[in-house]
């Protein structure tokens, strides 16, 4: 078997006091092959974002404490890298898109300038940077990209802002794209457009995608495999179809039932019954 792109082994990340800490991530292990799409699903506070940020050690320590385990990206342990090595990992190898596209873009710079910065940081060999920026914006489905380079983030809609964030991530040609709840701040129709865009990217490039979400509805038809997190632990993992059809853990069942289904009459929204899970 080939070496996985990403191999997380017994990762533990704590916050707060050393006695009785907040165990945001509590000994999780998972791996991703190159080109694979993995979804991490869990409710709010289950440690998804902490896991995602830890992949390039974006969580400042302190306050975070990396207490155990390893994160091997292409065989190198991220937790052992020096600051300079981390910087060339961030963006170039592992790029992120975040939940709030509006505030993830710098308000005082044009979008063209911000994408240019990403390219100049990681791809100094590019001769015609402007053409590359236009190409990136074109790839994420922004119409008339050349005329939008001078736009400021506040001049764009939320969906377009998220497209710009994706363009910025793609401009560095990363091997792994970490999308941390990329559609949570957007309305439902835009959600679908962004998910379709990510699907397209998955099809046309060999990039791996780590999708983080609390919504099982986004996972079907997108991810190859699913990891379900609950209170810092992985409670279930497996191929998407299998987990969706035959969930083993009661928490997974509850999460799947939370997704409202079209055409199906529901008198009340389902809520998770924690007493049954414990």
């Amino acid at each position: 078997m080939t070496m996985p792109l990403l191999q997380v082994e017994n990762l533990g990340i704590h916050f707060g006091p050393t006695v009785d800490p907040v165990k945001a991530v509590d000994g999780i292990s998972f791996s991703m092959q190159a080109g694979e799409t993995l979804a991490v699903v869990g409710e709010s506070g289950s440690g998804k974002s902490v896991t995602a940020l830890a992949l390039t050690r974006l969580l400042a320590s302190p306050p975070a404490r990396y207490v155990s385990g390893s994160i091997a990206f292409e065989g190198r342990d991220v937790l052992q890298l020096r600051e300079g090595e981390l910087r060339s990992l961030r963006g170039k190898q592992i790029a992120y898109i975040f939940q709030e596209p509006g505030s993830s873009l710098n308000p005082v710079f044009t979008i063209g300038y911000q994408i240019r910065e990403a390219i100049e940081l990681h791809r100094p060999e590019v001769r015609d940077v402007t053409a590359e920026i236009v190409h990136a914006l074109d790839t994420v489905g922004i119409r008339n990209p050349a005329s939008r380079l001078g736009d400021y983030p506040h001049q764009l809609s939320g969906g377009m802002q998220q497209r710009v964030m994706i363009a910025m991530a793609l401009a560095c040609q990363p091997k792994l794209l970490v999308a941390d709840e990329p559609t949570t701040a957007l309305d439902v129709t835009i959600q679908k457009q962004i998910m379709d865009l990510l699907k397209d990217l998955k099809r046309t490039s060999n990039m791996s995608i780590l999708l983080i979400t609390h919504n099982f509805g986004l996972v079907a038809g997108f991810a190859d495999r699913v990891v379900v997190m609950f209170r810092g632990k992985i409670v279930e993992t497996g191929p998407t179809a299998q987990v969706l059809q035959n969930p083993q853990h009661p928490y997974t069942k509850a999460l799947i039932e939370c997704v409202p289904k079209l055409g199906q009459k529901q008198h009340r929204l389902k809520v998770i019954d924690y007493a049954g899970i414990q």
Binding site: T56, L58, P62, R87, S88, L89, R90, G91, K92, A95, Y96, F98, Q99, E100, S103, S104, L105, N106, P107, V108, F109, E117, A118, L121, H122, Y152, H154, Q155, M165, M168, A169, C172
Partner: protein, 381 residues
């Protein structure tokens, strides 16, 4: 309201639109610019040497021969800066040629200044016979003693003269240079230190923040004027202009540091800072290229108020007799002369006092206008 055109304007355009609507701020800015022009042209507005002099069929330009090196630099480098700004787009396109041209120009000026010496000619062209002479509007030098002592304002001496017969109008014009450049340079020093320390504290937090905050608190324990007086008396032998600038700058950065720290604390916890880190930007880049531009509005406001207070501090120092060395004219210096003769020579206090008042007020109007423009929510309409 035309919301479409509003959403298309850039940050600076919005700033300028708000600023422009504020009549006080706009007129304050006009006065400040006027003061700077007057200060820059002071040697040509008040000088005992003629601009052009024709005698015995011989044409000469006595003013230029008497200019000090610093005045030459002012005269040549300010237009140079203007030119560079005007051609900035071509500058970016051909940086090599432009940098060479600018360096060549500066080198030429400096070599010229090193090889020539200003002619220290004590005679004045007012009284010297000539077939033609063009005198400046105020034909007196600021350090020249005329026979008219304590002359009240007349057509000859527009703002009167002091105890040694020096023309107050000439001293005021040249004093404007002192006051304005001290305000500007001292505040630049304060801004540099304040931004650096405040930025480091706000970005890195933890022990660095604690250390810098305690340092700021210690600095703030001393009344600034007392601090400056002590510093000046320690190095009494060297109280020239640059020394005063440095002392004022080094003691008035704490306000800026607090402000920048607060802004950086806020900005560095916003998602775009994390996003910048996530594309692999280093700390220096994040601080200088991502956070600083976002904090520029409030910094500009603080800087404007700071210039005003630096001018005030310099005037107080001169008034107390700790300011510039004797012949250098400054507004506070004229005021301090007025102290002794106030019972009959009202003009000695009136004109410099008025100049200080107008300058400080203009700067404060500009500062308030900027503050409102940076944060339009403050201005309820």
């Amino acid at each position: 309201m035309n919301s479409i055109s509003l959403s298309q304007e850039t940050y600076t355009q919005r700033l300028w639109r708000h600023f422009h609507a504020d009549k006080f701020a706009l007129n304050g800015l006009r006065i400040v610019i006027l003061l700077f022009i007057v200060a820059a042209l002071a040697p040509f507005l008040a000088n005992s040497h003629a601009l052009i002099r024709v005698a015995d069929g011989h044409v000469s330009f006595p003013i230029f021969l008497s200019l000090e090196p610093i005045e030459w630099r002012f005269l040549l480098y300010v237009p140079l800066a203007g030119l560079v700004y005007f051609f900035r787009h071509r500058f970016i396109a051909h940086p090599g040629i432009f940098i060479l041209a600018v360096i060549g120009f500066i080198a030429a000026v400096e070599i010229f200044l090193a090889l020539t010496h200003p002619i220290n000619d004590p005679t004045n062209d007012r009284d010297r016979p000539a077939s033609f002479k063009l005198l400046p509007p105020i034909p007196y030098s600021p350090i020249e003693s005329t026979p008219d002592q304590f002359s009240p304002p007349t057509w000859k001496h527009l703002c009167g003269t002091d105890s040694t017969g020096r023309d107050i109008a000439a001293r005021m014009l040249h004093g404007a240079r002192t006051s304005l450049s001290i305000g500007f340079v001292a505040q630049s020093i304060a801004l540099t230190i304040g931004i650096a320390l405040g930025g480091l504290a706000g970005y890195y937090r933890s022990w660095l923040d604690i250390g810098i905050c305690r340092f700021i608190e210690v600095m703030d324990c001393f009344p600034p004027l007392l601090f400056i007086l002590v510093a000046i008396s320690l190095f009494e032998s060297q109280n020239n202009m640059f020394y005063i600038m440095a002392v004022i700058g080094l003691t008035s950065w704490t306000g800026v540091a607090r402000l920048v720290r607060g802004e950086f604390l806020r900005l560095s916890s916003l998602p775009f800072t994390l996003a910048a880190k996530a594309i692999g930007a280093n700390d220096f880049r994040i601080i200088v290229r991502h956070l600083l531009p976002n904090a520029l509005g409030p910094i500009l406001v603080a800087g404007t108020f700071g210039v005003a207070s630096a001018i005030l501090i310099e005037s107080s120092l001169s008034f107390l007799g700790f300011g510039m060395q004797a012949p250098t004219p400054s507004w506070g210096d004229i005021l301090s002369d007025a102290r002794r003769y106030i019972d009959f020579a009202w003009w000695l206090a009136f004109f410099p006092g008025l100049a200080i008042l107008i300058t400080i007020m203009s700067y404060n109007f500009v500062g308030e206008g900027l503050r409102d423009a940076v944060d339009p929510r403050l201005k309820m309409k």
